[in-house]
C-alpha cells in the first residue's frame, strides 16, 4: 500500500472518529465539540484535496486509478474484499463533498447561536429562541458522522462498502431531520420533525431493501462487488447481459440495474418516493443543506453514475430498457417537482422541490447516457444548492431575530411574511442572488447554466426530443420560481414587523455563503464545451470532460457544438427569470396581497400547493390499508382470533387436566400428612390458654404444685 492509497483510506476516518469522540468525551464542552468536528472535516478536506490535486496532475489518470483493498470476510475459498479506490468520478466527488461539508459545519456554529448563553425558556429537543442550541454538541457529532459516511461512500471501491456509507447516512438523516424531536405545531396536520424523520427513514429504507436485493443478485451472478472488477471485465459484462433474469425478457444486468436504481429513487427522492424530501425540511437548515447538496441525495446520483455501465449494458441491441425507465422517471420528476415548487410559500420547501427537480435533470442525463453531464450538474448543483439552503437558513435566522424583537407570532419560513430583506441582509442577499441565478441558469456566467446546458445539448444531440421539451419546460419553471423566491424574499418593502427588524447573520454563517457563491459561479467554467466560441478555448478545452472520459468503460459518442441548445437554454433561463420578474418583481407583493399566480391558475394552484395530493394519496392507498391490515386483519382476526383462540383452547384443556390432578393430589397423596399437621395444630390451639402471660397465674401454679408435693412427702413420711 503506497502513501497515496493510505491517504484515501484515511479520508473518511477523522469525521467518523470525531463523531465518536464528541458523543463520548467532549459532549460537555460546546467549543471543544465544534472545534473537534471542524478539525476532523478540515483534515478530511486536506487529505481529499491532496488526492484530488495529485490525480489532476497525473496524465491519463483514468487509465490507472488509485486502488487498495484488503481481505475482509473469507467466504469459502475466496474472500470478500473491502477497499478504496479513486477514479476520476471519485475525484470530482472528493473535490466538492468535503468542502461543502466543512462549510456547512462552520455555518452550523453560527446557526446554533454559539457564543450566546443558554436560554432558560428553550426546551431540549426544540429549536432555540434566542439562546444557544441546547443539544449543541450532539448536532456536531451527527453532522460529523454524516460527513464521514458520505466520504466513506465516495471512496468505496465496492458496492457493499458503499452501502455501509449509504445506510449510515440514512441513519444520520433520521437523527438530524428529527433533531428537534420535541417540536409540536398548533396545526395537527402539519408534519412534525418526528413524523418527518420516520417518514424519511422508512421511505429510504423501502428503497434500500430493494437496492440490497440488487446487490445480492449482483454478487450471486458475479461473485464480486468491486466496481472495477465487474465493469472493466468485458466477459463478465457480456455474461450479465446474456443471462436471463427471473423476469422473462429482462437480462440479469438490467434487472440488477433496476433494483439498484430503486435505491437511488429513494435516496435521491425521485418520483414516486420523493415525498420524504420536502418533509425533511423540518430539520435544522444546515441539515437540509447537508442532505440536499453535500451528501444524501448526491449519493444517489453518484451511485447511479457508478453502476452506469451495468444500466447501459447491451444498449446496442435496441436500447437498454433500464435507461428508458430512468429517463422517464428523471424527466417526469424534473417537471413534476418544478410545477410544485411554483406554488410553495415556505422558503425551504421551494428549494426542496427544486432539489428534486434538479436531481431529475441529473437522472435524465444518465438515462440518455450523458453520465459526464450528470456528474457535472451534480457538482455545480451541490455548490449552488448548498449556497441556497445556507442562505435560506440565514434568512430564517434573521427573520427569527426580527420576530424575537417584534414579538410577532408568525412563521419565519413563510415567504409571504418576508420582503425587503435585501437592505437588511446584504451578504445573504448577494450570495442568494448568485445561487438563485445559478439555479435558474443565468447565461454564460453561472455554473448552473453550463451544466444544465450540457444536459440539454446531450438530449438534443441524441434526438431525445420529448426529453428536451420536458426539460426545457422544467428549466423555465425553475427560473420562474427562483425569481419568485428572490422577489418575495428580498425585494419590495417588508411585509411584517419581523422582516423589518431582521438583521445580517454572524460571520460563521456568511463566510460559507461567500465561499460557496464563488464556486457557484466558477465551478461551471471547467465544463464548457470545447467547441464553444472563444470561451471553450479560453477555459482549457473542457477539462472536466477530458478528465472524466474513461472513468467508466462506456463509449461516449461526443457531439459537436451547436447553437440551438445554447440558444434554447438562454431563452428558457432568461424567459423564466423575466416572467418571474414581470409577475413578482415589477410590482412587489404588498401586505396581505394574494399571489398573482394563484389568482391566475385558480384550482390548479391549489392542486400544486398541495403537492398533487400525493401525500394524501399515499396515506389512503398505502398507509391506511397497511394500518387496516395490521390493526384489523393481523391483530384482531389472525392474532387475537385465530392464534390466541387456539392458544386459549389449549390453555383451557390444560386447565381441565390440571384440575383433575389437583383432586388426586388433595385426596390421595396429601391426606395423611395433612391430617397429621392439622392434629398438631389443633393440639397447640387447644392448649394455648395455659399461657396467660400473667406472672400471678404461673405463681399460683407453682404454689399449688409445692403444696401438692409437700402433701405427698408428708404422706410418704408417715
Amino acid at each position: 500500500m503506497n502513501a497515496s492509497a493510505l491517504t484515501v483510506w484515511l479520508i473518511p476516518v477523522p469525521p467518523l472518529l470525531s463523531a465518536t469522540v464528541i458523543l463520548l468525551v467532549t459532549f460537555r464542552s460546546r467549543w471543544l465539540s465544534h472545534t473537534m468536528a471542524l478539525t476532523a472535516i478540515g483534515i478530511s478536506l486536506v487529505l481529499g484535496w491532496s488526492v484530488v490535486f495529485g490525480a489532476l496532475a497525473t496524465p491519463h489518470f483514468a487509465d490507472h486509478p488509485l486502488a487498495s483493498s484488503i481481505d475482509w470476510l473469507p467466504t469459502g475459498s475466496t474472500a470478500l474484499r473491502m477497499g478504496v479506490a479513486v477514479d476520476p468520478l471519485t475525484v470530482v466527488m472528493l473535490f466538492f463533498v468535503p468542502l461543502a461539508c466543512a462549510l456547512i459545519i462552520l455555518y452550523s456554529v453560527g446557526y446554533s447561536n454559539f457564543g450566546k448563553a443558554l436560554d432558560a425558556h428553550d426546551e431540549v429537543g426544540s429549536p432555540p429562541h434566542n439562546g444557544v442550541e441546547p443539544l449543541y454538541p450532539r448536532f456536531f457529532a451527527f453532522l460529523s458522522l454524516f460527513a464521514g459516511a458520505m466520504l466513506l461512500l465516495v471512496v468505496a471501491d465496492n458496492l457493499l462498502l458503499l452501502f455501509f456509507g449509504w445506510e449510515i447516512m440514512g441513519l444520520c438523516s433520521y437523527l438530524l431531520i428529527g433533531f428537534w424531536y420535541g417540536r409540536n405545531y398548533a396545526d395537527p396536520h402539519q408534519t412534525t420533525p418526528r413524523q418527518a424523520a420516520v417518514k424519511a427513514f422508512l421511505t429510504t429504507r423501502l428503497a434500500d431493501v430493494i437496492m440490497l436485493l440488487g446487490i445480492a443478485y449482483l454478487y450471486a451472478e458475479t461473485g464480486t462487488l468491486n466496481f472495477r472488477e465487474i465493469f472493466f471485465n468485458p466477459e463478465l459484462m457480456e455474461k450479465l447481459v446474456a443471462t436471463p433474469s427471473y423476469i422473462s425478457g429482462l437480462a440479469a444486468a438490467h434487472m440488477i440495474g433496476l433494483l439498484i436504481f430503486a435505491g437511488t429513487v429513494g435516496k435521491s427522492a425521485q418520483f414516486p418516493l420523493h415525498t420524504w424530501l420536502p418533509d425533511a425540511m423540518e430539520g435544522p437548515t444546515p441539515v437540509s443543506a447537508m442532505i440536499h447538496a453535500a451528501a444524501m441525495v448526491s449519493a444517489g446520483v453518484y451511485m447511479v453514475i457508478r453502476v452506469f455501465p451495468l444500466l447501459g449494458a447491451g444498449a446496442g441491441e435496441g436500447g437498454s430498457p433500464v435507461l428508458a425507465i430512468i429517463t422517464v422517471v428523471g424527466s417526469f420528476t424534473a417537471l413534476f417537482a418544478a410545477t410544485i415548487a411554483v406554488a410553495q410559500n415556505d422558503v425551504k420547501k421551494v428549494l426542496a422541490y427544486s432539489t428534486i427537480s434538479q436531481l431529475g435533470f441529473m437522472i435524465t442525463a444518465l438515462g440518455i447516457g450523458a453520465y459526464i453531464a450528470a456528474a457535472f450538474h451534480l457538482m455545480t448543483h451541490a455548490f449552488f444548492k448548498a449556497l441556497l439552503f445556507l442562505g435560506s437558513g440565514s434568512i430564517i435566522h434573521g427573520m427569527e431575530h426580527g420576530a424575537h424583537h417584534s414579538h410577532e407570532h408568525i412563521d419565519p419560513q413563510d415567504m409571504r411574511n418576508m420582503g425587503g430583506l435585501a437592505a437588511r441582509m446584504p451578504v445573504t442577499y448577494i450570495t442568494f442572488l448568485i445561487g438563485g441565478l445559478s439555479l435558474a441558469g443565468f447565461p454564460f456566467v453561472t455554473a448552473g447554466f453550463w451544466s444544465k446546458d450540457e444536459i440539454l445539448a446531450d438530449a438534443l444531440a441524441h434526438n431525445h426530443t420529448t426529453v428536451l421539451v420536458v426539460l426545457l419546460l422544467a428549466a423555465f419553471l425553475t427560473a420562474f420560481y427562483t425569481m419568485r423566491q428572490i422577489a418575495l424574499t428580498f425585494w419590495g418593502a417588508p411585509r411584517t414587523e419581523s422582516a423589518a427588524h431582521a438583521h445580517e447573520s454572524a460571520w460563521t454563517m456568511t463566510l460559507p455563503l461567500v465561499v460557496l457563491a464563488f464556486f457557484a459561479v466558477t465551478a461551471g467554467y471547467v465544463g464548457v464545451h470545447h467547441e464553444f466560441p472563444v470561451l471553450g478555448h479560453l477555459l482549457g478545452e473542457n477539462p472536466f470532460e477530458h478528465f472524466l472520459m474513461g472513468a467508466l468503460p462506456v463509449e461516449l459518442d461526443g457531439f459537436s457544438f451547436k447553437w440551438t441548445p445554447v440558444l434554447l437554454s438562454v431563452l428558457v433561463g432568461l424567459g423564466g427569470l423575466l416572467a418571474g420578474w414581470l409577475v413578482y418583481g415589477r410590482r412587489p407583493l404588498g401586505v396581505g396581497d394574494a399571489d398573482p399566480v394563484q389568482a391566475a391558475l385558480g384550482p390548479v394552484h391549489t392542486l400544486l400547493g398541495n403537492k398533487y395530493y400525493l401525500d394524501e394519496f399515499y396515506q389512503a392507498a398505502f398507509i391506511a390499508p397497511a394500518k387496516w391490515v395490521s390493526t384489523v386483519f393481523v391483530s384482531r382476526i389472525v392474532d387475537r382470533g385465530m392464534i390466541d383462540g387456539l392458544l386459549h383452547s389449549l390453555a383451557r384443556l390444560m386447565l381441565g387436566i390440571g384440575s383433575g390432578t389437583v383432586l388426586i393430589e388433595k385426596w390421595g397423596v396429601n391426606y395423611v400428612p395433612d391430617q397429621l399437621a392439622d392434629g398438631v395444630q389443633a393440639t397447640g390451639n387447644g392448649s394455648r390458654f395455659v399461657q396467660t402471660g400473667q406472672v400471678q397465674t404461673y405463681l399460683l401454679g407453682v404454689v399449688v404444685a409445692v403444696l401438692a408435693m409437700t402433701a405427698a412427702l408428708l404422706m410418704a413420711a408417715r
Binding site: 394455648r688 399461657q691 402471660g693 400473667q694 406472672v695
Partner: protein, 102 residues
Amino acid sequence: MVPLSWYLVLAALLFSLGIYGVLARANAIGILMALELMLNGVILNIVAFWRYRAPTQVSGQMFAIIVFVVAAAEAAVGLALIISIYRRRGTVVAEDVSLLKW
C-alpha cells in the same frame, strides 16, 4: 422461754401472708411488698433455728445477712422495673402487663 415452735408459726404466718399478697394483689408494688414479707418469714425461720439449734456457729447469721442483701437488691431492681413499666405503659397493674401472652 419462748419455744422454737412459736417462732416457726410466726414465720409461717408471715410467709403465707406474703404468698397471698403475691398471688392476689393487682398492684405490682403491692406484689413487691408481699415478696418482702415472704423473705422476712424465711429470715425469721433461719434466725430462730440458729438460735435454738446451733448458737455457737456464725453461718446462721451469715445466711440471714445474705438474704437481707438479696432482698434489698431485689427491691431496688424490682422498683426500677416497675417505674420503667409505668413510664412506658402508664400502669402498675400486673394483669395489664401481658406482652408474653399468646
